[in-house]
Amino acid sequence: MLKLLLRRLAMSLPLVFAVVTLTFFLVRLAPGDPAAILAGEAPSPEFLAEIRAEYGLDQPQWRQFLAYLTKAATGDFGTSIYLGRPVFSVIWERFPATVVLTIASMVLASILGTALGVLAARHAGNRLDTVISAGSLLGYSIPGFWIGQLLVILFAVELDWLPASGMTTARVTYTGFAHVLDVGRHLILPAVTLAIFLLTMIARFTRTAMIEALNQDFILVATAKGVSPRRLLWHHAFRNAVVTTVTVIGLEFGAVLSGTVVVEIVFGWPGLGRVFYDAINRRDFPLLTGAFIFSSVVVIAANTVSDLVCAALDPRIRR
């Protein structure tokens, strides 16, 4: 297990380097000039040159890259061009809101998706299975920003049960448990919106894995031993299928994280997604690069964790 962890970490290092390199150049390949945006309307050429020199934008790109790498290695990801603050502290400040949103929707999607997948597999071919399978195909195909707005219209505007946007109620300061409750109320709609895609993925893959597991010989053998149907389903079949479920969760973590960009915009959630959005609009290269690298590292870490969990669940992967 420790060996596997070390091997995965060793594999992650070149991956992170590749991500840094790719991100750095891709961001700069995009059209748009941060200096022009900073300088405002119709700046003098001298002023533009001054700004370029200040942020090192006048240097050749490979030189900029080397300078970036040297600093990044020490944990310095530069300064946001627009906000004028260190990139890392901007990201770190916004990260918790995204973590709360991501974790909430992943927990929701994992529990519901798994339950629906198992239920569909148990009733494979029946009406319940058809309903669940059709529903998950629908959920899989509906774009997040659209379902998010529909939820806002229904639950925030029409029914007025839940807040439409933000993370906390404006102009009121709650503390302690009341604060948690307040954030929780604001969390429901964005978390549900973000969860739908992952939920349907989990349900579909869990269903297939469960049907496969239930058709294995060892299920017949266990039945012949006198094992109860409930234990067959969970202890025998699900213990095999859960490896697939965990793999899907790990793989789709990246998709969920990129989904936060849209969901955070729709719901005014003050997380990393908004940082991305604003940094793109402002051509804030250092902030954008930093946010990309940070998210990539988080995704790589999540995949490593999911691999380790799979290995813990399936002895055949462990060697």
Partner: protein, 325 residues
Amino acid sequence: MTEPLLSVRGLRIAFPTPAGGQAPVVDGVSFDVLPGEIVGIVGESGSGKSLTARAALQLLPPRAAVSGEIGFEGRDVLALSPRDIRALRGTGIAMVFQDPMTSFNPVLRVGEQIGEALDIHRAPPKQAREARVRELLSLVGIPEPERRARAYPHEYSGGMRQRALTAMAMANAPRLLIADEPTTALDVTVQDQILRLMRGLNEASGTAILLITHNIAVVASLCRRVIVMYAGRVVEDGPVEQVLTAPSHPYTQALLQSVPRIDQPAGRLTAIAGQPPDPASPPPGCRFQPRCTQAMGRCTAEEPPLDAVAPGHRARCWLALGQAA
């Protein structure tokens, strides 16, 4: 005369056909297994032997239509409630399956899976259960049972898995062990070890064994009585010596002729010409008649009954019954 342990009467198992009809894959099968006896069922693939065995534990898929009677210790197995059949599985009748590679759950330790068999029916304290698991593993000849109980199935060889599977089946000291092709997936030397193990268990614990196989040599080495099945029917049954040395049914004769022999010059293997019939539309008269080299007029007109050709020896053949004309 002793009461039979297992008594199958008029068992019929049919599956729905795509055309909307019913295809009987097992049709009117009757036989007994006495306590402590080893009985073999032989037949080629599709003869219905495995389905017959599975019916004895209600292990058939729900779409199978099962009728007839399977008596076990005086109760009709087919009529048992889900709860009662679960209590019978593993304690009254236990089963060993064909493929030891896929019979264990790959993510659970072998000892855990054997222990589970104990837990379901007796729920012994942890220490007693672990001791019994070790005892069972050494009973089937697995060295270092303590270490082996903690291993996962993929860490076992094929022969060891079949041994462990047998240990799992024996966990609750069943009165009847149904072994469905227990040696088919194993190489020959390991086959022999498993057969010896089965005979040893039979002698030591008095567990009756119903051995299902397509391998007539396996029957010869282990069983006292043999039942020959063809196309869903019993075509011959009787004591092993009689059936194998003086087979009455042409199918049994052909089956024996297709076994390669070491004392005869090597040549082409003898095969039975033709294919077994489609269960949805069996041929008229005797089901073997289209492939039978000795078929005659009456065989296509009328199906022969399963009748005595010698004391304790029955065959379903007009010729053998002396009524061919």
